[in-house]
Amino acid sequence: MKLHDLQVELGLDNLQTDGLLHRAPAPLRVFLADKRGVAGLLILLLLTVAALGAPWLTEFPPDRMSAMPHLPPDGDHWLGTTRMGKDVFAQLLYGAQASLTVGLLAGALATLIGVFVGMCAGYFGGRLDDVISFIVNVALVIPALPLIIVIASFVDSASPMVIGLVLAATGWGWTARIIRAQTLQIRHKDFILAAQLLNEPWWRILAAHILPNMLSLVVSGFVLTTIYAILAEAGLEFIGLGDPSAVTWGTILFWGQQNSALQVGAWWEILPACFAIMLTGAALVLINFTVDEIANPLLRKRRGEKAVIAYLRKKGLPVND
């Protein structure tokens, strides 16, 4: 069968026509070609827009009583009100501001520290590596819980930011570990040797030669630490270690739990925040999924695979044996 006929039969004959997309850099193209990653990104964007647009999306303040306690959802209060008569929808939106900011900030900070430390350890090796690995090991062990209390006591109360900072301070260990391992692999590649022989300074080798080769690892590290930070922040606030007067998804859960919202049937006080947290997590996971595939083309879902299999079945030719 002629190649062209096959391409037509499989419906893959004019692939390169989507102009704008085609001109994008390859990783971006792969990303945009994957529905899951795009869906994740869209969800995240939507959440961000909702968070930033909170003042326009709702007329109610998140931290003040705006109606009777525990009103079920209705036209005015789309998600009902809390035990204290606060509007749940407003809390959800304003809570998104804090939760997302903290998550992204902690994720970014932890990634930054982790990447820098990991790259230095992997690149320089020797004593420095020993010392850094040592610190990483210690950092991995230090639990965030008491640290949050210690730090909160110095800055007055465990605001979401404080929790975020502590999570960043304790959460960079894994990234550092992974980045170090990857750097160790790249360090001995010929192109790094070449750069050294061409008198590139060390920081430039790290930043311009090694880092770009680990971008997907860095992005995925960032995505994962962000998930971790969002979940951990919610968890810590849920068990009461946060500042209950702040409005975040975690404190919404905390108050819902404190006020036995589920037991009294006020599901609307707890479930929307649960859902929002899950949605954010899911969106980030979807993004990570696609980032993984950018890093490793083998993992990629191929366009037209279904058509090919159908074609082979029809012709009685073997598929994957």
């Binding site: 210690v138 209390i149 968890g235 899950m278 997590g281 899911a282 980030l284 999924f289 879902k301």
Partner: protein, 328 residues
């Protein structure tokens, strides 16, 4: 040998540092155990008693003296006295909680590992199949759910509404603890929901990493060769591919196991499970220094041990790694 010695030395040093941090972190927290006793009694104790109590707990003298005393006690294997359960030795409470945590989180870790690995293998082997396209993203998304939410939902759904499972605890407290069927059955029955809440969110991670490793591996020449040899699919999968794909997973499993004794705080809190996470939280809230120190010590120890084991496992399982070289 030198490698192992070097690692050992390294771990000892890390341990010493952690030991020191363990002493100072709790003490940097404002408040002290005596004062928290007072708060929990809402002030039903005189200031004089309180001051005397502080001395009885051993919190007088300089921090340095206390540190020296702590190290000396540690060297004698004495973790000190719990102030939440004064004057119970902290080690007793620690052991009790550690046992339950080891059971709950240990089993959950193993279970999610085994299930996740199998799922991952299946998804990679039948790549693009219904199972893979549906379960892989779903499993992985579950991974991003908070234990708080999952545990709460399970509790309210299956324990409170449907009443299929108990509301919490590790076993029916009217039973005498012992190695008998009734008690163990009760332990299993009580562990179903907490286990589920832990396993559900952990499977995805293993699933995905196994799947990805496997997909890479299935492109290796030795898999092609194994297929060419006419081996059965099962044999290729379990003998030729799984084994290599398991190497990195086993390393992560070892590392994950290091954190088992960190407990599963939220699950334990929600299900009133007598695990280390919950005990530690209480100890932190009540400033039970001895317990916090003990727990941090335990955690440090197991994490470092797990690291060491992971290092050794790698050497043991991967014959290639046994030959290393370096520049003179």
């Amino acid at each position: 040998m030198r490698f192992i010695l070097r690692r050992l030395g390294f771990y000892c040093a890390a341990f010493a540092v952690a030991l020191t941090l363990n002493f100072f972190i709790p003490r940097l927290m404002p408040g002290d155990p005596a004062a928290t006793l007072f708060v929990s009694l809402r002030g039903r104790m005189s200031q004089q008693s309180l001051d005397a109590m502080r001395a009885a707990y051993g919190f007088d003298g300089s921090l340095w003296d206390q540190f020296v005393a702590y190290v000396i006690r540690l060297l004698h294997g004495d973790l000190g006295v719990s102030t939440v359960n004064f004057p119970q030795p902290a080690s007793e409470m620690l052991l009790y909680a550690a046992g339950w945590t080891l059971f709950l989180v240990g089993v959950a870790t193993l279970l999610s590992f085994v299930v996740g690995i199998l799922f991952g293998m299946l998804a990679a082997w039948r790549r693009g199949s219904f199972f893979d396209t549906l379960f892989t993203p779903v499993n992985v998304m579950l991974n991003a759910f908070t234990p708080a939410v999952v545990a709460l939902l399970l509790l309210y759904g299956f324990a409170l509404q449907l009443e299929w499972f108990p509301l919490g605890r590790a076993y029916n407290i009217d039973l005498e603890p012992g190695w008998n069927m009734a008690f163990m059955g009760s332990v299993l029955y009580h562990s179903v929901l907490p286990l589920a809440s832990l396993v559900i969110i952990a499977i995805g991670g293993w699933h995905l990493s196994m799947r990805n490793t496997m997909i890479n591996l299935l492109n290796e020449d030795y898999i092609t060769l194994a297929r060419a040899k006419g081996l059965s699919g099962r044999r290729i999968l379990f003998r030729y591919a799984a084994r290599n794909a398991m190497l990195p997973q086993i390393t992560s499993l070892a590392l994950t196991f290091g954190f088992v004794l960190g407990g599963a705080l939220i699950t334990e809190v929600v299900f009133n499970y007598p695990g280390l996470g919950k005990f530690t939280l209480a100890a932190i809230e009540k400033r039970d220094y001895a317990f916090i120190q003990g727990q941090l010590l335990l955690l440090t120890f197991t994490v470092l041990l797990a690291n060491l084991i992971a290092d050794l496992l790698n050497l043991l399982l991967d014959p290639r790694l046994r030959d290393r070289s370096e520049l003179a």
